[in-house]
Symmetry: C2
Subunit: 277 residues, 2 copies
């Protein structure tokens, strides 16, 4: 495999949720001191803050605001709930604009009370209706296919092939795909679909973490890179080959790590990034 | 959808693991009294028993022994462990023959210490080497693709498309596919791949249960049919259309149900089978 370790941290981005116990002010100070150069902001981290000023603060620390996480959750059997979700996505576009990022990650949603096909249709319609506003704000929407174990409530888009197909149907330069190794590592068509995604300039984001054996919780037991069985560097080589040169984003949900000292955890993130990303 | 409820229990099969607290002697007595006509035997249920006599007992109760569960777990980084697994699969063929069933379900295995591609190769090689003995014993091997959340340690075959491809490569009438709705319901290509599987006469088994929202455990929180979001009857209609007319097998791993009175649980299985299968 030709892909080699990245010796510096110029492409390292961390999601605020990864160090959830920290406020965004604490997070950015620590990230900056450690040499991290990118941050993806989860919307809960912006609560009770002036978003524009928060964006300015992040940049003063020398960080790029890689994306806002997350929009989506379009499907619902109830029309009013769908409308509320759509309005929340419009709000996310405003927030992203204020924050000064050019990308929103979409966790597309699913409603177990209706067929997956219906949820997929509602996702398509939701994104489609959102695209004009995204375009006028200069914000790209990144569809993140989620692991099939989240097909009941979190996303009816569960493979990169589905995401690529949907992006193709949407036919807009304002929508693309976010590749997260945790969700996609098992897929035998992953290399081919990453290539397809890159060829069409649709690869907007690359998220990393690891799959622990055993994994004890469906949501909050992700591992640090190197702790599990995901061939992270191999997948990065595919992403490299596909022409992606953006940030490599560490997104770890872990009840275990959230209990620990976050400064120590951040050191581990940096070390494992250098070794395994 | 044209598929209608099956009014009688002539096609209902239950896996012994579903009523794990019962011995196989208790299970068969209760199944038989309830009108169940098929049983799939998990190998742990045969421990310390004469297998031939156990098979005869099951038939005396009027039950068909639908399959033996399970062979597989072929891959391992260590050659001796692989050899031991292979010998255990040979033993499973003997046990199936003694028991008087003509089918073994394969949970193919995976080793997180090696790439999925290598595990897949070892699965192919293992089944390939096993086929002559399976054929001479008159036992078919059913590859069961497992949900991607089990790709680390339980199976590197995670979609029906992969299973169909592997069966095609193996090119033997002694190997086919077991479709389990719990593992496959999320897959957008499921209908098409069930059709492909049936067209080639490779659909050997059909397992049902349900996906609960939320699911609280990766292994032992399966739902009774109707408790979750899997469109069981819709998938059965695809299986029907594909020409499958074998047993419909209830396979539920549930810490919750295993704690309850198993006679009450069995009544619920029969009721939900009639309503949702």
């Amino acid at each position: 495999m030709s892909t080699v370790p990245i010796k510096d941290l110029s492409r390292l981005c961390i999601h605020t949720i990864t160090t959830k116990p920290w406020s965004i002010e604490e997070a950015v100070r620590h990230y900056s001191e450690s040499g991290v150069r990118g941050i993806t902001v989860w919307r809960d981290a912006l609560r009770n803050r002036n978003i524009k000023q928060t964006g300015e603060m992040l940049r003063r620390y020398g960080l790029t605001v890689v994306s806002l996480c997350r929009g989506g959750f379009f499907p619902n059997v109830d029309l009013n709930t769908r409308k509320a979700a759509f309005d929340d996505n419009r709000l996310a576009i405003e927030e992203a604009y204020e924050l000064g990022t050019n990308k929103i990650v979409l966790v597309c949603g699913a409603d177990p009370a209706q067929p997956l096909e219906e949820s997929r249709k509602q996702i398509f319609d939701g994104i489609s209706a959102l695209l004009p506003e995204a375009a006028s704000a200069g914000i790209k929407l990144a569809i993140e296919p989620l692991h099939p174990m989240y097909a009941d409530t979190r996303s009816a888009i569960n493979t990169i092939s589905q995401a690529n197909d949907m992006v193709k149907s949407l036919n807009s330069s304002w929508v693309g795909v976010a590749v997260d190794v945790y969700h996609l590592w098992w897929d035998p068509s992953l290399e081919k679909e990453i290539e397809r995604c890159g060829r069409n300039n649709l690869l907007l984001a690359f998220h990393i973490s690891d799959w622990k054996s055993p994994t004890t919780d469906l949501l909050n037991d992700r591992g640090l890179m190197g702790e599990g069985c995901i061939p992270i560097r191999k997948i990065r080589s595919w992403v490299d080959t596909a022409g992606f040169d953006g940030f490599i984003e560490v997104e770890i949900f872990s009840s275990e790590y959230w209990k620990q000292d976050q400064s120590e955890f951040l050191k581990k993130i940096v070390t494992s990034y250098k070794k395994y990303a």
